[in-house]
């Protein structure tokens, strides 16, 4: 049995209290084995972003526990900080994920050197990484507004990966991009994962996107895990009715029919 880098056990999260109480996650159990990638699929409000936030420690756990990089966090300790090396998050919006006043180099330097953020000391590593994510020469001293959305997302990827974390969560990182750009970003991510032997949780609302970067797929609906299995198995023989609906809603897919 391979070791699970990320594990959630009977995880529940409840927001608010009284009448406005809302259960965001309900008894979710999920393992991500070392070096593997899990695609987490669900529509808006299904709880997938909440799961990501729980894993990185931004949202407290109501019950159950998660294990990240060998450490276990429970109801009381859910918000304790994970070390950057254990887990990194690539955020969704390429426009708000980079500080407009800091260069690409400074963004990466912050990851390598959180306290002082010295570009000069890490210039070589940074340049290598920017090159690695296929950004043009000289990107290191450019500001975010000088990049396109796809390029910004590459910077965000480089920032998350340059410290070589054990695991990474990619939260809807392509949903704001044009389709052809999405494809390029996904391709890059797939390559990097392979190369770095990354453990990854890839979150998306689009099953077709997930298919190409994941080993396993988990489907969330209203906070509950409705399906969990290997990619091909889920795609070819979905167990849950909901998964089938999801598959049919993929544009260009076989079940995608609009005109009757």
């Amino acid at each position: 049995m391979p070791e699970a880098t990320i594990e959630a056990e009977e995880l529940s999260v409840v927001f608010g209290a009284g009448a406005s109480q809302h259960q965001a996650l309900k008894d979710v159990s999920l393992q991500i084995w070392k070096g593997k990638s899990v695609g987490l699929v669900g529509e808006s409000g299904s709880g997938k972003s909440t799961l990501a936030k729980v894993l990185i420690g931004a949202v407290p756990i109501t019950s159950g526990q998660v294990t990240v990089g060998g450490q276990t966090y429970g109801a009381g300790t859910g918000r304790r900080r994970r070390t950057p090396k254990q887990l990194q998050l690539i955020p969704q919006d390429p426009y708000s994920s980079l500080n407009p006043r800091r260069t690409a180099g400074q963004a990466l330097a912050e990851a390598l050197d959180p306290l002082w953020s010295r570009v000069s000391r890490h210039r070589k590593t940074i340049a290598e990484w920017l090159d690695r994510v296929e950004l043009p020469q000289g990107s290191i001293d450019k500001y975010p507004y000088e990049f396109s959305g796809g390029q910004r997302q590459r910077i965000a990827i480089a920032r998350a990966l340059c410290i070589r974390p054990e695991a990474v969560i990619a939260d809807e990182i392509t949903s704001a991009l044009d389709l052809s750009v999405q494809v390029e970003v996904l391709k890059l991510l797939a390559e990097l994962r392979e190369e770095l032997d990354l453990t990854m949780l890839f979150i998306s609302h689009d099953l077709s996107v997930v298919r190409h970067v994941s080993d396993n797929v988990a489907v969330l609906r209203s906070g509950e895990l409705v399906e969990h299995g290997e990619v091909e198995q889920v795609f070819t023989a979905p167990q849950a009715e909901y998964t089938r609906q999801l598959l049919d809603s993929v544009p260009g897919g076989p079940g995608f029919a609009i005109r009757t």
Binding site: S96, A190, L246, G252, F256, A257
Partner: protein, 578 residues
């Protein structure tokens, strides 16, 4: 005026390398400010003696000897007005600095506190803001006694709550920015996050605010002089001079003139600098447009128009549409399009390909900042180049926009928005219009249709909103529907259902549809015909069957098609797996 800058923060994303050209306001403001600084430096050296000298010519009016007359000690008021500049600038700058620095520090530090304490501090601060500033200044001055020093401190301290609130409010949206979250994740300590990420992004709006509040501080300082608390003789600033001269306003109005003009000039300089900086930080407001009006639709070629003046049954006919930016850049280069009745035509291209501009211009809604021209442009049978009746257009041409959340007015209920056309143009009563709308809501599978109209947009999901938008086309029985990426902002899961309703509605109406998308997969499933655009030009036109059969000519179209099917990614992944 202080709250204004909040809006600036949201709109003015900073770009350091942006051009440094001065706009007129900023130029005037800086010019005035420099002149005042020069006066402040030079006049005490040159006129200092004249300004202090007691002469026998007491309480005089304007004369060639004393341009602004003399005060009750025979001191020359013109000289005094100029010499006072130095002290005024120093005091006002100091007061502004106190308010800005302490206010901003507090406003940012609250973000280091636990939520409970932060809320308490902000509540207390809200109370302080609500308290009349003059009274607050009086209390402070009470403790320190009258004089330049205490007046400055008093006005400065009285200004702190407002800046605390502003800084806290401005920092709030930045605190939830993803780069702040990422920095936390990377283990950057909170104080460093505040210093590295929050403060610099507040810099520009705060500068604007500080410039504007400089003028406020100026009047407040002079207000303190008016109530006897300001600068004491032998020192004097504008406020002191003004307060001293005010009792003579009816007998020697010229005495009031000097300090008034100086105060106004100083205030104007500060505010213009503030306005100028604000204008510069907002690129949309920065571009100066000269010459012709933008946002208009022009006839490009009279003879060409005459040639095809004959009636035409198409839902949309566009010939040789060009769109030019105010800077003269060609954004759409001679596009021609045709959408027949009952036909759905897809317009495909990437961001920046000009597809949205084409669609909006075709609907007669040329955006501000660009100009469109065409040889011929007919929408739903109306000649768009000849200013058709707006009521007819509103009825016959319906639009569905990309982001339902931002296309709906957040402040108004759905009814109030979606019944505009029937009430304004079709003469329906409020009640009729609502009933009709509810009926169409039901047709589009919107749950609880009677209740929806009374809700605000934020209470509905994106898919629901987009269907509501489509329903307005049903109400007016539109002949042409222009849909600009109506599902890109939606989840894929919702997308299919919305598209289904959309197509159903169009078919029921028999309307022509111009459907814009970047996803060939969607277009393929939806459209009769596909037009592919790139760099403002049409590069390929295909029927749906050709597309399904992948009979594409242009490599770019092929690339789009591949992307829609994720071909290259999957191939590689499969190769790797193998």
């Amino acid at each position: 005026m202080t709250t204004v800058a909040v809006a600036d923060v949201q709109t003015g994303s900073h770009s350091p390398a942006r051009e440094r050209r001065l706009n007129p306001m900023l130029a005037i403001g800086l010019g005035l400010a420099m002149a005042l600084v020069l006066v402040a430096i030079i006049s005490p050296m040159v006129l200092g003696e004249t300004a202090r000298e007691l002469t026998g010519d007491m309480r005089q009016g304007a004369s060639s000897e004393h341009w602004l007359g003399t005060d009750e000690f025979g001191r020359d008021l013109f000289a005094r007005a100029l010499v006072a500049t130095r002290l005024t600038l120093i005091l006002t700058t100091a007061a502004t600095a106190i308010a800005v620095v302490l206010g901003v520090v507090t406003g940012i530090l609250v973000w280091m506190m636990p939520e409970r304490i932060r809320n308490f501090v902000l509540t207390a601060n809200a109370v302080a803001v609500a308290f009349p500033g003059l009274v607050l200044a009086l209390v402070v001055a009470a403790i320190l006694g009258p004089g330049a020093f205490s007046a400055t401190i008093a006005v400065g301290i009285a200004g702190i709550p407002a800046f605390t609130r502003l800084a806290a409010n401005m920092a709030a949206p930045i605190m939830v920015r993803e780069y702040v979250g990422t920095a936390k994740q990377l283990g950057v300590p909170r104080p460093i996050i505040l210093a590295r990420h929050v403060l610099p992004n507040l810099g520009e709006p705060l500068l604007i605010l500080a410039a504007n509040s400089y003028a406020v501080m100026l009047t407040e300082l002079s207000g303190l002089s008016f109530i006897g608390l300001g600068v004491q003789n032998p020192e004097y600033d504008f406020g002191r001079l003004l307060a001293d001269a005010l009792p003579n306003v009816y007998t020697q109005p010229v005495h009031v003139l000097g300090p008034s003009i100086m105060i106004v000039l100083t205030g104007v300089a500060a505010m213009f600098i503030g306005d100028g900086l604000a204008a510069r930080s907002n690129p949309r407001l920065r571009r100066a447009v000269k010459g012709r009006r933008t946002g208009t639709l022009l006839q490009a070629n009279e003879s060409a128009a005459a040639k095809s003046a004959a009636e035409n049954d198409d839902a949309l006919l566009v010939r040789n549409l060009c769109v030019t930016s105010a800077a003269g850049q060609q954004l759409v280069k001679g596009v021609s399009l045709r959408v027949k009745k009952g036909e759905i035509v897809g317009l495909v291209g990437e961001s920046g390909s000009g597809k949205s501009l084409t669609a909006m211009s075709a609907a007669g809604l040329v955006p501000e900042g660009v100009t469109a021209s065409a040889d011929e442009l007919r929408a739903a049978g109306h000649d768009m180049l000849r200013h058709p009746k707006s009521g007819d257009l509103a009825r016959d041409v319906a639009l569905v926009y990309q982001d339902p959340m931002s296309s709906f007015n957040p402040a108004l209920k759905l009814n109030s928005q979606l019944t505009e056309v029937s009430r304004v143009h079709l003469g329906a009563t409020r009640r009729q219009a609502r009933l009709e709308l509810a009926e169409k809501f039901a047709q589009l599978n919107i749950s609880a249709p009677e209740r929806r109209g009374e809700q605000h947009p934020y209470e509905l999901s994106g898919g629901m909103l987009q269907r509501a938008m489509i329903s307005s086309a049903l109400v007016t029985e539109a002949k042409l529907i222009v849909a600009d990426e109506p599902t890109t902002a939606l989840d894929v899961t919702v997308q299919a259902e919305v598209l289904r309703q959309f197509v159903g509605a169009a078919e029921r109406l028999g309307a022509g549809v111009l459907f814009i998308s970047h996803d060939l997969g969607v277009v393929e499933a939806l459209c009769d015909r596909v037009v592919v655009m790139r760099h403002g030009e049409v590069i390929e036109e295909l029927t749906c069957d050709q597309l399904t059969a992948e009979e594409v000519q242009h490599p770019y179209t092929q690339k789009l098609l591949d992307a829609a099917k994720f071909t290259d990614v999957s191939e590689e992944t499969e190769a790797n797996n193998a």
